[in-house]
């Protein structure tokens, strides 16, 4: 609960950055499922191999919203060569840490970004860089630890 979240997490939860949709996005990725209680959708606008804009929509707990928000901050304006290497650890670190039980939310944020990248690369018939695979199948078991 609130007491277990860092100030940065609470800030990104109460004032999430880049919430919304990009109607003409170049890549869209959605991960998670309703049963687990977390769904993240990422929209990317890509120009000259740079993430020109990014928006997200998230159904989930405070950590799910905060990790989505932070992930968008970490990739906005960055070249794809950097973005493909985004890790959940980087999201957790930027948030000043997460309670252990919420770390899976950061994994979901990383996967949401990568799912949107996968969509971008496959839409444009571009070769997939290392680390970009078909997105999660909606089975959260591997992230949620069971």
């Amino acid at each position: 609960m609130a007491a277990n979240y860092s100030d940065i997490v609470m800030d990104h939860f109460t004032n999430p950055r880049n919430v919304g949709e990009i109607p003409d996005a170049d890549g869209v990725g959605e991960v998670g499922n309703m049963k687990c209680g977390d769904i993240m959708r990422m929209y990317l606008k890509i120009k000259d191999d740079v993430v020109e804009d990014v928006k997200f929509k998230t159904f989930g707990c405070g950590a799910a919203v905060a990790t989505s928000s932070m992930a968008t901050e970490l990739i906005k304006g960055k070249p794809l060569s950097e973005v493909v290497n985004l890790t959940n650890d980087a999201v957790v670190e930027a948030l000043g840490g997460l309670p252990p039980i919420k770390v899976h939310c950061s994994v979901l944020a990383e996967e949401a970004v990568k799912a949107a990248l996968y969509d971008y690369y496959t839409r444009n018939n571009l070769p997939l860089p290392a680390g970009i695979e078909a997105p999660c199948d909606g089975d959260c078991a591997h992230c949620c630890g069971r």
Partner: protein, 391 residues
């Protein structure tokens, strides 16, 4: 404005309870087991508290055992009934799917020890059917344990009818009345209750004191805590005199003001229910009127409970949820699943629990803030749009 709307979790200690307990800290601080006058003074306070609680339950003082709280009392009730039943070759226990974990986890343990546990359904309204209880009772049924009122959705069970049935069938009947005690009328004789659990901190006493009522002659208690001869040898450990004295005072106060409190709190509850029902895609959980005066439980589709609680807290409202993220597990509350809610809906639950200290102004604040927060979370939810379209 700060609104405490989580009174089903715990309550503020009443001034009456504080006044009653303070002398036990500085004057009657003796050990009730001691022979000297300090001890005997504490012993008198203990027995006065026991008599007072017995009086308000319509029980006898010797039928009251003090424990550390509701969980311990539930554990002791179930274990005692199971062991007593086992001696007579009865190893079947009936309960419900939406009991508190103090009951369910103790039943799990008993099941591993060879008891057969049957959990009855509670249906959409969150109320067990007396006929289901009647059909489930067998020759070898050792115990029926059914909560008085549910802790999440507040639904009140037909306790008097189940009590009468069990008495007629000569089956031991326990009820976990932790949420009901001090909030609705309880009479162990009239309602044919053999064993009953109460917890002080749910009715404005401090945390750390509970009550197990056991009807004389119904079952011999087994110890959960071994030790000295306290509580007629059934519960070791020096008695928590300040807590017990405060609990007795708080119980008396709650019971003396019961009708007035029920009227006031029910009016506030109904106003909140009517207001929150106007939120699109909201679902009131549990029977509309057969519920505790202070309990309000809704699901709002398309949002998640923990996020809702954090944002409400930010706006000064303290509430609770049965979402997975607040339970520390992957699954939403077993109570919400037991009334047939799918996982995805149960994740978006909100429980507001009011007491006599809440005010109409606080209700106004709840009615202003909750719809706005739900709307804000829905605006950032990727599933809300598809829900609206009916997908």
């Amino acid at each position: 404005m700060q609104v405490y709307a989580d009174n089903a979790a715990t309550t503020k200690v009443s001034q009456t309870a504080i006044n009653a307990m303070l002398p036990c800290l500085t004057e009657t601080y003796g050990n009730p087991s001691s022979v000297h006058s300090f001890g005997q003074a504490a012993h008198r306070e203990l027995e006065k508290a026991r008599s007072l609680i017995a009086e308000y339950l319509n029980a006898e003082p010797r039928e009251i055992t003090f424990t550390s709280g509701g969980s311990e009392a539930d554990n002791q009730a179930l274990i005692s009934a199971a062991l007593a039943g086992e001696k007579k070759g009865k190893k079947h226990i009936i309960s419900t799917a939406f009991e508190h974990h103090a009951i369910l986890h103790t039943l799990d343990k008993l099941e591993k020890q060879g008891f057969e546990v049957e959990l009855l359904p509670v249906y959409k309204d969150g109320i067990v059917l007396v006929e289901d209880v009647a059909n489930a009772i067998r020759e070898d049924t050792a115990l029926v344990s059914i909560m008085y009122a549910n802790n999440e959705i507040g639904t009140i069970q037909p306790i008097a009818e189940i009590g009468a049935l069990c008495r007629q069938k000569n089956v031991l009947f326990h009820t976990d009345a932790v949420q009901a005690g001090g909030h609705i009328h309880i009479d162990v004789k009239e309602q044919n209750i053999d064993m009953l659990t109460l917890s002080g901190h749910k009715f404005h006493a401090p945390k750390g004191s509970g009550i197990l009522y056991v009807r004389a002659g119904s079952v011999i208690l087994s110890n959960v805590i071994e030790g000295g001869a306290q509580e007629r040898g059934k519960r070791g450990g020096t008695e928590n005199i300040p807590g017990i004295v405060a609990m007795a005072a708080a119980f008396k106060e709650s019971c003396d003001n019961l009708d007035e409190n029920i009227a006031k709190i029910t009016a506030m509850r109904d106003r909140v229910i009517e207001g929150l029902e106007k939120i699109p895609e909201s679902i009131l959980n549990g029977h509309r009127t057969k519920r505790l005066p202070g309990n309000i439980n809704f699901c709002f589709r398309g949002i998640e409970g923990e996020a809702l609680l954090l944002m409400l807290d930010h706006e000064g409202i303290a509430a609770s949820s049965g979402s997975a993220c607040t339970s520390g597990s992957l699954d939403p509350s077993h109570v919400l699943l037991s009334i047939g809610l799918p996982h995805e809906v149960a994740h978006g639950s909100l429980r507001l629990s009011l007491c006599e200290y809440n005010t109409d102004e606080e209700v106004d604040h709840i009615l202003k803030v909750v719809p706005a927060v739900v709307e804000r979370l829905r605006s950032m939810s990727p599933v809300w749009e598809s829900i609206q379209k009916g997908v």
